[in-house]
């Protein structure tokens, strides 16, 4: 029961944690680690190729971070509760394709907010299903969500459709083209910061608020910290399980729509297979795969880091064939840093 092995931080008499070394401080604040990595990458790339310092580049990284970011926020919540989810890409694909198709064929005039609502609701339903299964089967969520991923994706492709189609609803296309900032480049080439980055911003704030400022948020961390004790203290595991997966599903639904809107086409084959990369981003943001930790800011940084690494390789002149290997190394390194933290 009571494990009395002392970890590094021995409090002095008034129970305050004695200030650790800078290194330990770093380990205690994972987002800082991630941030430093980002700065490092930027400096390296920026010195190799000064074109890196361009507004358009910033815009592109932000744009490319939106869908990933939405996914990552969902994964963060699941990880924090001690679970793991690999079915969100399937959910996103299903929702984005089905919703887009229905809207196009049935009520093309549907305004964007409504579409988003529908997608969010749809995603949440799938997510809730995940949560229910994880809770009732009492099986590792990784395995469960692998199962649901298969079911959802193949249901989509078997019964809903497989055809890529371009004629997405006008409201979605308009939303995708909506510009927040427009920047005139040297050669008169324009680069725009699309408005839908705001969706990520909003999602991030909301997620932060839920996690830090509501009971359910604290309950998520409580369960992630020690489910047995959490239950004994009156936190309802069932609610938490269903919530986290439903929330991940909800964000996935929205992410799917963002993907279509920015892409101006709906392809049911898209997104599949990116789930592990997203989880990696969240872990790079300092969330522990074992649950009970992780922060929104860290997660966003993790996403930026991954996007950065996969977006600057041409600039640096690295053949894109090295991209995966580099990301892999990043994950291993970050993983090591954080495992040190876990033991530190």
């Amino acid at each position: 029961m009571t494990d009395t092995t002392f970890n590094g931080a021995t409090p002095d008499d008034n129970g305050k944690v004695s200030p650790g070394s800078a290194w330990r401080w770093l380990l205690r604040h994972p987002p800082v680690v991630t941030f430093s990595l980002i700065v490092l990458v930027c400096l390296v790339v920026g010195t190799i190729n000064t074109d890196f310092w361009q507004v358009s580049n910033l815009f592109d990284i932000l744009r490319a971070s939106v869908v990933r970011g939405l996914f990552a926020l969902g994964v963060l919540v699941v990880l924090a509760s001690g679970g793991i989810d690999v079915s969100f890409t399937a959910i996103a694909a299903f929702v984005m394709y089905t919703v887009t198709m229905l809207v196009t064929n049935l009520l093309p005039g549907l305004p964007m907010p409504v579409i988003l609502l529908v997608a969010a609701a749809g995603g949440a339903c799938f997510g809730a299903l995940n949560g229910l299964l994880v809770h009732t089967l009492r099986a590792p969520s990784l395995i469960v969500t692998i199962g649901t991923q298969y079911v959802i994706r193949s249901f989509l492709l078997t019964f809903v459709g497989t055809a890529l189609f371009m004629n997405i609803p006008s409201s979605m296309e308009a939303f995708g083209k909506l510009a927040l900032f427009t920047h005139q480049g040297a050669n008169g080439s324009i680069s725009v910061l699309p408005a839908f980055v705001l969706v990520l911003a909003v999602a991030a704030v909301v997620t932060w608020w839920i996690l830090e400022r509501t009971l359910i948020g604290r309950a998520v961390y409580a369960v992630g910290g020690n489910p047995g004790i959490a239950e004994r203290l009156g936190y309802n595991l069932r609610t938490v399980h269903i919530f986290v997966f439903a929330y991940a599903g909800l964000l996935a639904g929205i992410a799917g729509i963002m993907h279509v809107a920015s892409n101006r086409l709906a392809n049911p084959f898209d997104l599949a297979g990116t789930e592990l990369e997203i989880i990696a981003a969240v872990v790079l943001g300092g969330a522990r795969i074992t649950g009970g930790s992780g922060s929104v800011i860290g997660t966003l940084l993790g996403v930026v880091l991954i996007t950065l690494v996969s977006n600057v390789l041409i600039l640096v002149g690295i053949p894109s064939t090295w991209q995966l290997a580099i990301i892999g190394v990043f994950i291993v390194l970050a993983g090591t840093v954080f495992s040190l933290r876990a033991r530190g």
């Binding site: 193949s154 459709g161 371009m166 050669n187 993907h259 920015s262 086409l265 084959f269």
Partner: protein, 308 residues
């Protein structure tokens, strides 16, 4: 039940390209009650899955298999076993395939690539930076087109090929992000040559957003329906393709001929537009390669004529 069955195996089920091809396959089946035609394909674009699928068809001992390989070399093994089992093997888009009786190419890929490049050169006034895309470095034809293009570009000393053969992994979004990145590194780039059928979609979007419709020339393979909006906005200047339906039809027809023991003669007419006068040449293995001139060039003016 006893009529010989010709099974067409595509890279992946469901993509518009292969859905269109299916029409050709079915069409041939309808016109020729003598044979049963059908099309199958893996649910994921994975050479392994395609291999396993064929493996089972071989075990099932169908009469003929017409394959559009995900990855030609990954199928050599299983197709060898197929022919050992007396199954007639026809391939498409794989002129380096050894274990095939007949490989069907809609056209000579190098020439096709050259034609793209010619168009691009035309459009960009035979000078400036240009680049090429491929679905993946693994897909042979894409690479051949890219090479054909760069070959042709040598004629024009002012044209400079930069960071060639960008992989889009058949994902419009990846193509888009690659294109953005290139536009950033080479702001003055003028020409893009698309590889996979969705490359032009991604490139087109990037160009459109950068507002460089008039400053750039985007050509590549693509389907009219998918590319339409970008043709309209001049983000994509022109696409060429061969009709997958015809390809599917021809594959099955040739398979049928092989089954009947009819021989394929140079210059013969396969009764499908673009394949009226095919050239037959020796293939990488025992088999032959049948080459047509089945390309279709499409631009803003005429894309609406094509229902796919």
């Amino acid at each position: 039940e006893e009529k010989p069955s010709i099974v067409t195996v595509v890279k992946v089920t469901g993509e518009n390209w292969f859905t269109r091809m299916n029409e050709g396959v079915d069409a041939y089946g309808k016109e020729n009650p003598g044979v049963a035609t059908s099309q199958v394909g893996p649910g994921k674009a994975d050479a392994a899955q395609q291999g396993r699928l064929i493996e089972d068809l071989v075990a099932k001992k169908v009469a003929a298999i017409a394959v559009v390989p995900m990855d030609a070399s990954a199928l050599e093994g299983v197709l060898k076993r197929a022919s050992q089992r007396g199954i007639k093997v026809i391939t498409h888009e794989a002129d380096n395939m050894k274990n095939t009786l007949v490989d069907i190419e809609a056209f000579d890929n190098k020439v096709f690539g050259a034609r793209f490049n010619e168009k691009i050169a035309e459009c960009m006034g035979k000078s400036g930076k240009w680049t090429s895309f491929v679905g993946s470095l693994g897909s042979l034809t894409h690479v051949q087109w890219a090479d054909g293009g760069s070959e042709n570009a040598k004629k024009y000393p002012e044209m400079e090929l930069v960071s060639e053969k960008n992989e889009s992994f058949n994902d419009a979004n990846r193509a888009y992000e690659k294109a953005r990145e290139i536009l950033r590194k080479y702001p003055d780039i003028k020409g893009f040559q698309g590889g996979s059928a969705i490359d032009v979609i991604g490139i087109g979007r990037a160009v459109e957003e950068a507002g460089l419709q008039d400053k750039t020339c985007v050509f590549g393979i693509g389907l009219p329906k998918d590319t339409g909006s970008y043709l309209e906005s001049d983000a994509v200047d022109g696409i060429s393709f061969w009709d997958p339906k015809d390809a599917g039809y021809v594959m099955n027809k040739v398979a049928d001929m092989v089954l009947k023991g009819e021989e394929l003669k140079d210059g013969m007419d396969l009764g499908v537009p673009g394949y009226e006068k095919v050239t037959v040449k020796k293939g990488a293995g025992e088999g032959v390669i049948v080459v047509g001139q089945a390309w279709v060039d499409v631009d803003k003016s005429n894309y609406a004529k094509y229902p796919f």
